[in-house]
């Protein structure tokens, strides 16, 4: 198998462009937080009451599950006429300030370079572009950005972009520096169509869980802020918080994101077990990587259960979700590279 060096180089360059453009997007999102206030003054009043119309409608229906006040009395839920929800839906882009519109454009631009980088890498090595750790991270962050963009097209909370872009830039930056592996062929153990299936599912789900983790962190800030605001410790209408969805909405968005990723992750584990059976003669053997995938899966299951348990939803559930993602990161960054095991996923190059 001869690897196409020209394409491989093009891929590297495209991915560097992606990181740079994402960084600019992040700056633009941040700039909007800092300076975008006046531009949006007109829409601000309406937005403050309901920053993300569709989300707000959803939030209202979960009266009992108010994460902001875990065990508190039920919120009085006003009747929301469906017509109103429908009419005021998508906060149209016209109301967004120029900085944030620039940030969105940069996000799309970066994503284009990112997707092209992943595809050219695959073309250069004549296989799926997730055969080593570097490729895995570039592919999963690509999923993260795609998922984020899809989420935002639907829910219009573009201001979350600063957090998502920040996290993606860090991950991609790490991939391109210490984890970077030049394009090369696969070791025999990885030559299987299960690589395409199993690792694709893992890439997808980890990319989605990445978004959930970012949302979870933002939720914790929003939740803390809303508690402080309720106690009179923080100004009730802080500029930054006003631009983010409310804690209730963030909580729901996080939950949905995890719910989206969880079956894919489960599928990925099953596919991995089938592959392990073909490659190593057993479908499950408590290899360190398998063990940590199991731990991660169990803790995400904890999160889903916590959401249905009185006294555990809200903040505690959010922490559980972050622990689960922590285990995921630990598996990818530490176990797969440093602990001995059967996984011949080419580690640090």
């Amino acid at each position: 198998m001869s690897d196409n060096l020209g394409l491989a180089q093009l891929s590297d360059h495209l991915l560097i462009v992606a990181v740079v453009v994402y960084s600019l997007a992040m700056l633009a999102y941040a700039g909007d937080f800092a300076y975008g206030r006046r531009v949006k003054a007109a829409g601000a009043a309406g937005k403050a009451a309901r920053p993300v119309p569709e989300l707000a409608g959803v939030g209202a229906s979960g009266g009992a599950a108010t994460p902001g006040t875990p065990e508190g009395p039920e919120q009085p839920t006003a009747a929301v006429p469906p017509a109103a929800t429908a009419d005021s839906a998508p906060g149209d882009a016209g109301r967004l300030g120029p900085l944030i519109r620039g940030a969105i454009a940069l996000t799309y631009l970066g994503l284009a370079a990112h997707v092209a980088g992943v595809i050219t890498r695959g073309l250069a090595v004549h296989r799926v572009p997730w055969g080593d750790m570097y490729e895995f991270i570039t592919a999963l962050t690509c999923v993260t950005v795609i998922f984020f963009v899809a989420l935002m097209m639907r829910y219009r909370a573009w201001h979350l972009g600063v957090f998502v872009m920040g996290a993606v830039v860090v991950a991609l930056g790490l991939a391109q520096t210490i984890i970077y592996t030049p394009a090369g062929p696969l070791v025999p153990a990885l030559k299987s169509y299960w690589l395409a299936i199993h690792v694709a599912a893992m890439t997808l789900s980890v990319g989605i869980f990445f978004v959930a983790a970012v949302l979870g962190v933002v939720y914790l800030f929003a939740e803390r802020y809303s508690r402080r605001a309720a106690a009179g410790l923080s100004p009730a209408n802080h500029g930054i918080m006003r631009r983010l969805p409310s804690a209730v909405e963030l909580d729901r968005l996080t939950y949905r994101t995890v719910v989206f990723g969880f079956p894919i992750w489960t599928f990925g584990i099953i596919a991995g077990a089938i592959w392990a059976d073909q490659a190593w003669g057993r479908y499950w053997g408590w290899d360190p990587v398998e063990t940590w995938a199991f731990i991660t899966w169990v803790i995400y299951a904890c999160f889903l259960h916590a959401r249905a348990t009185a006294g555990w939803r809200g903040r505690r559930a959010a922490y559980i979700q972050l622990i689960a993602f922590g285990c995921l990161l630990f598996n990818v960054l530490v176990v797969q590279t440093f602990l001995t095991g059967l996984h011949s996923y080419a580690g640090l190059g």
């Binding site: 959803v58 009992a64 009747a79 929301v80 006429p81 469906p82 153990a189 030559k191 169990v298």
Partner: protein, 554 residues
Amino acid sequence: MTDVRSPQAGNGAAAPGVAEEPADVAGETIAGVADETETPRPGGFGAVAWARWAWRQLTSMRIALVLLFLLALGSVPGSLLPQQGIDPAGVQQYFTAHPALAPFLNALGLFNVFAAPWFAAIYLLLFVSLAGCVLPRSFRLARTARARPPQAPRHLSRLPNSVRYETAMTTEEASAAAAAFLTRRHFRLSQGEGWLSAEKGYRREAGNLLFHVALMGVLVSIGLGGLFGYKADRLLVEGTSFADTVTDLDAYHPGHLVSPNDLAPFSLTLDKFSASYVASGPDRNQPESFNAHVSYTAQPGDAARTYDIQVNHPLNVDAVKVYLLGHGYAPVFRVTDGQGKVVYDQATPFLPADQSTYLSEGVVKAPDAKPQQLGFAGVFLPTAVDVSGQLESAFPAPYLPAVSMIPYVGNLGLNNGVPQSVYQLNTTGMHRLATPVQVLTPGQSMKLPGGAGTLTFTGYRQWVSLQVTYDPGQVPALISGIAALAGLVLSFLVRRRRIFVRTYRGDSGRTVVDVAGLARSDVGGGFEAEFGELAAGLKSVHDHDSSPRSEETE
């Protein structure tokens, strides 16, 4: 369609003992489990009361949560410490490196976590909890599958989604039109004087149950494999054979209920092993492919068939699978002793000491040599090169094969009852013969000083390590896994929701319609949109079907 049940019966059947209203109505909780209130601890001494309390605790969501956490936590040492089943050599090393700590960890079962009693205790408790939680819910679901939704709440406008509009119809007409509309959309109805409840989405609960039951299926399947399966290793040199019998297998690990007669009666010969490696560039020496060409007979007397066992491509003989795990070189040596007799002539598997160059180490033991026993320890180099006086292997493929062996004479210590590794020489009873370091290429010999004998390196063969496994739990585990996934997706995709309609005469004398909706579970979101669409549909039905009579009143 207008099968009207008394609201009490409908409610009771749907969820016995569960406060259906008003708390449940407002939230998205799962009847009976999610928001269970703390069961008060029994005050007296009644054993039954205590048992019931303990059972309720065990099957509560809170305990399930704690057990899940413990399960995750308990797995952690299994990945950080070497495990007996996976890496016994690592455990040995750990004992040597931490002589004080290791016995303590061993007593806690931390070198065999996944077989430790405490780990079993966690998952068995979890599965008892699961059964105690899921089975009652299954029965309840079976009952609700035929039950009707409960009576509509009195004040629909208090529900999270509601609309109110007026229609020209009479209240009866409006009710009937709404019922027809919702039935067309596959809602299940119950109706009463001026109210109507409709529910849809029972498959969500069914999906959730399927998921949890399938998890139990996975555990049972793993148990099946542990009881009836077996696993063994076998190192096989090119040109040799083995049969799938207990004596012929190297490391044999049978399940608890496996007897030697249960082993599949196949036999297998390694005809040829070949490997290819990346020859240049940054990935030089990295393997590209392995292929073990074997011939096998499934039953004694059957015709022999051939197969290429490769990584990711095991041989399957009657549900027993044979995997290629590793490979190496077996240099062939001939040893002539001091009396001129050939006392050793065979391929000798050497173990790779360097995975990238396949520099391999091994020993030769000639216990029959006279006057004294002979032993040799040394290295095999597939591509031998001299790197500034140091002998090294430059490439894993056998381009310039060579060996370098150090001779010993004396007592090999084979008869003192202590089992010895075939890969190591016990030199305590031997002394090293003073010879200069010699590099032998195929066909070359080295003469031992003092007429002790001769060692000839006649050539080399390759060996493979094979794993033989039989696991009857495999297919059930896969089916359970797929069922779990299907249940998960079903429970996430389907939302269980109710629509309530009340019709009554308003102050103006016109018929007022209150429509309210409630998602009992709306994981995927989007119930508002569905409700809006349903409410709009109902309204247009009520607008359109205006009968002439109602127009007269206008």
